[in-house]
Amino acid sequence: MKLIVAIIQPHRLDAVRERLTGVDIAGLTVTEVRGYGRQKGHTEIYRGAEYQIAFRPKLKLEVAVPDARVDDALQAITEGSRTGKIGDGKIFVLDLEQALRVRTGETGDIAL
């Protein structure tokens, strides 16, 4: 199993969710985060003074998937979140040693 961690633009969430549902991946956890990378924050102007906001609001998605579904998931997320502009985000893939569904105690792929 893999844990896919994606940092995306907040307004692409619905699109990603739809794509994931489209390929039958039906579990997702979302966190509000802030980040920077190539895209460098922005400026807000108040009373004539410029304020540098170092970080941009982003969403972090976590999706645990069986090994076989990793490519589908990556593709769904990429398609849903790509706008072609700087700041589109990153996807990270981590190895997931174990997964467990609290309610039933099931473990492994079936728990996802």
Binding site: E44, I45, Y46, R47, G48, A49, Y51, Q52, I53
Partner: protein
Amino acid sequence: MIDSGDTAWVISATALVLLMTLPALALFYGGLVQAKNILSVLAQCFAVACLASVLWFLCGYSLAFSGTGAWIGDLQAALLGNVTRAGPHPGLKIPESVFVMFQMTFAIITPALIIGAYVERIKFCAVLLISALWLLIVYVPVAHWVWGGGWLAQRGVMDYAGGIVVHVTAGISALVIAIMLGARHEFPHGIRPPHSPWMVMVGASLLWVGWFGFNAGSALSAGGDAGMAMLVTHLSAATATLVWMAIEWIKFGKPSLVGAVTGTIAGLACITPASGYVGPGAAVLLGALAGGVCFLGVLLVKRIMQVDDALDVLGVHGVGGALGSLLLPFLTLLGGGVVLARPLADQFAVQGTGVVVVAIWSAIATFAITKLTALTIGLRVDAETETVGLDFAAHGETGYHVNR
């Protein structure tokens, strides 16, 4: 003789002016700081309001409004011992108690205005000490000079609702404290944006509404003077807002909400001294000027002087109040204005004297008060407290517990 209509309006106006400090100014200032300092700003406004009230009771009112001295009143009315249940304030048709209370709300908001200069880095006990001394050493005498029959009143200075007494004193003192206290660590390049622009807007809206009490209430009666003061107050605020928005739109490509409401406050501060003396056309003109000049005032202090008068007390209030005080003789000439008691040039000279002398006195006295505070209890929190935020450090509380 008490007039029930006059009394009804001045009581209502008093409620409106209290609303200006609690919660309007507190929200206006609180929304402009960072989330970690929101409660400290509210606590400062609240504590200053209470402190000023008790001092007003003890001797402030008496020193400002009792007696005939040129420089300061007397202590005849200390502890408000002379306030009877029914007796009118001399020359007015409202009870003395109402006059005392109405003026108290002015004594509350003026030191509270200064809070904008020192937020996010000052010690809470320094706020209390400075505000108490400042009320007695700056506000009370100046109120006596201008409204209590003192030397400026004798020369015929015109300051309807406090362009000089409130805004010039607060603005200049804010600058002095800001310089002596030093800038916030992140100033000028790492300053964070207002943590809650909606809160700023709500504060500004309530200030606007409350300002009807401030300016129209200063008529101390319910008639044409109050009505005209309300009308011109409103028009100046609306015009200044539009002008500030237009400037931002042209200069930065977008009109911000925080900018718009800053324009409003500039327009309100500027019309304050003139509100009982000018007509609607003058108000629109003054509002337009307020929007432009105070915009520059803010830039001057923050960008050119590089002083961290954090929430622009001088740039908005000080500049606005001075501008209105100086222009008002000219503006009475437009339709709906009063007839001046002396030649225009003379009146302008008196206004200029008032603004300048009060500014100088405010600066000197505030310097002394702040120095004294620095040498005794200290002015500024340490660097770590500043970074962590005053809410937890000074009050043991956290602004937002929205977590589940």
